[in-house]
């Protein structure tokens, strides 16, 4: 039962209020893309043990989607941020590196 703070409404929400949406920062491949690109976009997930960027919706709250940076093994949360971005913001990257000096964004 994780707690994640919704960056939209500021509520420290319990997992029961949230809906998980899988990995964040996927690039959409539509018509014209190769089978490999589409497969990568739809199905290939690294399922990392460690630092992970993921999509959540404050479903039983304000209804907004947001993104979270979290360690899937220790459950540490490095931060939550707006879903309206294609990559994690600098403050989130800094927060991760402060706790995980060896981590690099691949």
């Amino acid at each position: 039962m994780l707690t994640l703070t919704c960056p939209n409404c500021g509520v420290a929400a319990c997992e029961t209020e949230l809906a998980a949406g899988g990995e964040a920062h996927l690039k959409r491949y539509g018509p014209g893309s190769t089978d490999e690109q589409f497969e990568e976009y739809m199905f290939m997930r690294p399922n990392v043990k460690g630092v992970h960027f993921e999509r959540w919706r404050h479903a039983a709250g304000c209804g907004k989607w947001f993104l979270a940076a979290r360690d899937t093994a220790t459950l540490e949360v490095f931060g939550t941020y707006s879903a309206q971005t294609t990559e994690p913001p600098a403050n989130i990257i800094d927060a991760i590196k402060a706790k995980r000096p060896d981590w690099s964004q691949s």
């Binding site: 039962m1 994780l2 707690t3 994640l4 319990c14 997992e15 809906a19 949406g21 959409r28 491949y29 539509g30 018509p31 014209g32 893309s33 089978d35 589409f38 739809m42 999509r55 919706r57 479903a59 209804g63 907004k64 989607w65 360690d71 220790t74 459950l75 540490e76 949360v77 879903a83 309206q84 706790k99």
Partner: protein, 998 residues
């Protein structure tokens, strides 16, 4: 024999009498007794039978770790199996019956399993599955079914008459365990101003200390505990709960506690159990330790008990399991039982200790009392069937054939203690192997971590590995100060103890026969020989061995058997215990009731019910309701004694011949609005929606990114930048979430807003040849063919109501769907009925709706679709835009498998004999697949009796079906038969659409 002593019994009220029954016989106990102590006081040594061999079983422990003494409690609706007698407090008129025996506890047919035990070795279940199937079905299964199973489940029709509830608590600290370590922790945190919840699973504070005679801060333990609790009760920031177990620790400081409120009262009124849902900044695990048994031949017989339990019964309840006790121990603590027994006037025959020299302070006290101590010795046999009669004592480390027979009526065993690390481990806290104490202890450097990456569980006292009172108390101060809480070091006087010997199995040179009589898991009948066999058969992982042997898989979850089993496995594998590792600790700590988990969520408030503005009318009419999502919709409206089938027929005929009314308010209604709404609609739907003119309707399909059909419905363009999307009744929330996902996470720069307005409107379908006449009679807006053509929308007044009228049809009839504000819905419905009486206006339900749409070949999401069907499979290519560059699902549908012609596709099906094809039935093909199953080439997706056509009609997906019109194919039936059907067009009724276009 076991009996009540004249003295002792700090927890019982000797002046009271409590009558209860065990297997129908009336017995007496005292207030303060547990069912276990009361049974022992009545010389009930035999309380149950084991799971596999139906061996006679007595009480082993005095707490929640009890593996054997499980009984059925209560009767009738309150019957509950598998209740531990050790944690059941005695109350007036308690009814208990023993389990797992037939025909009686004393004489049990299933015990014959025991003599077959060599045919039921480790992995028996898995190995037996390898036998020919028939052998399993006719020989093993009936035997196992007869004899297996713990307790008896309540009858499925019984309803739990008790109440349960949930509590929510947000605290700085929850302390699990009200022993000395827990009380010190709560006092310190309470003084530091923290919000504290202190829970203790038993009915008494203080844990073991009052029994073991520790002196705390210069006071006897009992006195210190009383003072501590009084202080805590005065603190407003501290909440104390007895009979409450912290049963599980979860992510980010979430925890569940299980409170047994009224079990011990035996009366109605209060809720029975309460589940506490807790968020805690820090969880203090002061859960103590559990004593381990020793594995010697015959250690499962009634009368062989944990040493700590024997002294618990003597000191707490004034009950002794025997008059002449043998203590067998590999450590000094076990001698406390000899001392306690002697002090209570109970005979102690001897102490058997495998250690070659016994010199500690406690053994010296025992020796001084004149009790013989057999050092370097082991028990090699326990005599007696339903209770202990004598034990055989021989040298532990050698087998020279010598032994001594010692008569006794109880054996108190101690294999040392294991810290209760469950709460620490539930969320991933790691353990170290403590060589000196031979146990796993929490590694404070590797705690479970919370959202900040910090440890949120702290073990203190015995749970932290401090198995001696003074060490335990010191650990509390150290661990709390690490959390920034000032806790004074409280001096505890504890005698010195010599190291234990890591002895698990005795004697050393026990042969195969003896090892097959040494129990590890008492409840599941797992023996030393079973674990050794598993190792011999190649099981190296402890998790695999657990499942293969069922060690630790019983309702006690291996609380007693864990370390001993690991030790036996480690030795068989020639490894160390830490290398073998331990199995995973999972919540709950002990079983909790299903009622507590459900809480108040039962019956009418199990889940919220959505009601349309017309819902009450349906109920008044005696409609037969069915669930649709969280809605309840009328399935049909039976009149008088009419059957549902007849009602559906009548409703369809009335609608097709004159006038039907449908409450369609549950239909999803989502507004999509904004300058970029047309662009967004083109992405959402497979159709071109941007070209739709204001005031027009278009049937649209919505796919997910995979290309599979997700939802359908009529889209209406209300004005240039506003669309109204109708969705399926069950799909509105999901579709709305889907829209928001794409808008918020992919196209966030598009200027579009969405709103789910489903419940803002009541929507009524007015259907049938007389539909227009009814609306014209109500008067107001022009609803003529020219003013409001098929697939058009108009707003205006209708019979004085604010109406939005859509000329759409899901039945093939002349049809208007009329939306009015929800507040006007019921009045509008009533007005339609009143005005429609002259045309016999007939309300119809969802079944008539379904049949009429099937007669027209309209698909239904969830019938024709199952998440793997694309619109092209359903002949809906006309609704897929070829012009659009992109829409959700377009790329997915281009994948070779989906773009192939070689797919199951929608057709109509007519059984040759006119019967209704079975729902979900498969269209069979020639030959068999690799598993020997009949090949299939399609399936039925919708099937009904059509009153219009007076025959069965069906829709289905058949391999290349549309190319095979007129072909006869076969479908399987439930009873194994076949039924023939012809492939036809899915549009059975009015294929030209003449009826709806008038």
């Amino acid at each position: 024999m076991s009996h009540r002593l004249e003295t002792h019994g700090r927890l019982i009220d000797r002046a009271s009498t409590v009558k209860f029954t065990f297997n129908g016989k009336w017995l007496r106990g005292h207030l303060g007794d547990t069912l276990a102590s009361a049974l022992l006081a009545n010389d009930r040594m035999l309380v149950g039978r084991s799971f596999k061999y139906h061996r006679p079983r007595g009480i082993v422990a005095s707490g929640g770790e009890e593996p054997n003494a499980l009984v059925n409690l209560g009767k009738g609706d309150r019957h509950e199996p598998n209740q531990r007698v050790t944690t059941t407090e005695l109350f007036h008129d308690l009814r208990a019956t023993s389990q797992n025996h037939w025909p009686s506890l004393e004489f049990d047919v299933g015990a014959i399993n025991a003599s077959l035990s060599r045919f039921l070795p480790a992995g028996f279940y898995y190995k037996t599955f390898m036998f020919p199937r028939a052998f399993w079905k006719h020989v093993f299964e009936p035997v196992i079914r007869q004899s297996a199973g713990l307790g008896s489940a309540p009858h499925p029709e019984t309803r739990d008459p008790d109440r349960y509830e949930h509590f929510y608590a947000h605290v700085d600290m929850v302390v699990a365990g009200g022993g000395i370590a827990g009380l010190i922790s709560a006092l310190a945190a309470g003084r530091a101003g923290k919000r504290v919840l202190l829970v203790e699973q038993n009915a008494h504070w203080g844990g073991r200390a009052p029994v073991d005679g520790d002196v705390i801060d210069g006071k006897p333990a009992g006195e210190w505990v009383k003072d501590a609790v009084e202080q805590l009760e005065k603190m407003e920031n501290v909440t104390l709960r007895l009979r409450t177990q912290l049963s599980g620790v979860y992510d980010h400081g979430y925890a569940l506690a299980y409170e047994r409120i009224s079990d011990h009262l035996g009366e109605e009124g209060a809720p029975r159990h309460r589940l506490w849902r807790i968020r805690a900044g820090q969880i203090i695990s002061a859960t103590g330790a559990i004593e381990r048994p020793l594995s010697f031949p015959g250690n499962d017989k009634p009368g062989v008990m944990l040493a700590s339990a024997v002294r618990d019964y003597i000191v707490n309840y004034g009950v002794t399991p025997g008059d002449r006790i043998v203590v067998v121990t590999n450590n000094d603590d076990g001698y406390r039982t000899a001392l306690a027994a002697h002090e209570a006037g109970v005979g102690v025959a001897c102490v058997v200790d495998p250690r070659p020299e016994v010199t500690g302070a406690l053994p010296e006290q025992v020796r001084a009392l004149g009790v013989p101590i057999h050092a370097g010795s082991a028990i090699s046999k326990v005599k007696g069937l339903k209770r202990v009669v004598s034990v055989r004592v021989q040298p532990y480390a050698e087998d020279d054939g010598s032994y001594e027979e010692i008569s006794c009526d109880a054996v108190a065993m101690s294999g040392g203690w294991s810290p209760v690390v469950h709460l620490w481990s539930h969320c991933g806290g790691k353990l170290n192997w403590d060589e000196a104490q031979a146990c796993f202890s929490p590694d404070p450097d590797r705690p479970p971590t919370n959202q900040n990456g910090e440890g949120f569980v702290t073990c203190v006292g015995a749970a932290a590995g401090g198995l001696r009172g003074d060490v335990a108390a010191a650990s509390v101060a150290a661990r709390l100060s690490a959390l920034g809480i000032d806790a004074p070091a409280i001096p505890v006087d504890t005698p010195d103890e010599a190291p234990l010997a890591p002895v698990w199995v005795m004697p050393v040179y026990a042969g195969a026969k003896k090892r097959s009589k040494m129990w590890l898991d008492f409840q599941n009948d797992v023996k030393v020989s079973d674990v050794m066999l598993a190792a011999q058969e190649g099981y190296e992982s402890v998790e695999h061995t657990k499942r293969y042997t069922t060690l630790g898989m019983a309702t006690d979850q291996g609380k007693l058997s864990n370390i001993n089993g690991l030790a036996v496995l480690a030795e068989a594998l020639d490894k160390g215990i830490p290398q073998v590792g331990t199995t995973t600790f999972r919540p709950p700590y002990t079983p909790i009731s299903m009622g507590a988990i459900a809480g108040e969520a039962r019956g009418e408030i199990f889940q919220p019910l959505r009601r349309t503005p017309i819902h009450a009318w349906h109920e008044e009419q005696g409609a037969y309701m069915e669930p649709v999502g969280h809605w309840r919709r009328p399935y049909c409206f039976p009149q008088g004694s009419e059957s549902h089938e007849d009602a559906v027929k009548r409703e369809i005929n009335a609608t097709r011949n004159s006038l039907g009314l449908l409450d369609a308010s549950t239909l999803g209604k989502i507004i999509v609005k904004g300058p970029d709404a047309p662009k967004f609609m083109d992405m959402l739907y497979t159709n071109m929606m941007s070209s739709l003119k204001p005031g027009k309707c278009r049937y649209g399909l919505m796919c997910n990114e995979n290309g599979f059909l997700m939802d359908d419905g009529v889209v209406v363009r209300l004005d240039e930048d506003t669309f109204l999307c109708h969705t399926t009744s069950g799909g509105a929330d999901h579709v709305h979430a889907h829209m928001e996902d794409w808008l918020q996470c992919e196209w966030w720069d598009w200027q579009v807003y969405t709103a789910n307005v489903t419940e803002q409107w009541a929507q009524i379908a007015v259907v049938g040849p007389n539909a227009r006449k009814l609306l014209e009679k109500l008067g107001g807006m022009d609803v003529s063919k020219d003013a409001l053509a098929f697939m058009e929308m108009a707003e205006g007044k209708l019979g004085g109501f604010d109406a939005r009228v859509f000329r759409i049809s899901f039945s093939g009839e002349l049809s208007y769907e009329i939306a009015v504000p929800a507040s006007q819905g019921r009045a509008f419905w009533d007005a339609l009925h009143e005005a429609g009486a002259e045309w016999n206006a007939t309300p119809y339900g969802t079944e008539a709706l379904h049949v009429m749409r099937a007669e027209k070949g309209f698909i239904m999401i969830g019938d024709e679709t199952d998440g793997t069907v694309i619109p092209q499979d359903l002949g809906l290519n006309w609704a897929i835009s070829k012009k659009k560059e992109d829409f959700l699902g377009k790329r997915g549908q281009e994948r070779t498998y989906l773009a192939s012609e070689d797919r199951w596709q929608l057709v109509g099906l007519e059984s040759l004999d006119g019967s209704v094809l079975p729902d979900g039935s498969y269209c069979v093909a020639r030959g068999f697949n690799a598993n020997g199953q009949t090949n299939v080439q399609g399936r039925v997706t919708s099937t009904y009796y059509s009153p219009t056509l007076e025959r069965g009609i069906a829709m289905g997906l058949v391999h290349k079906g549309p190319e095979r019109m007129g072909e006869t194919v076969e479908f399987n039936t439930v009873d194994g038969g076949r039924v023939q059907a012809k492939i036809v067009s899915p549009v059975f009724f009015d294929p030209e659409g003449e009826k709806q276009n008038v």
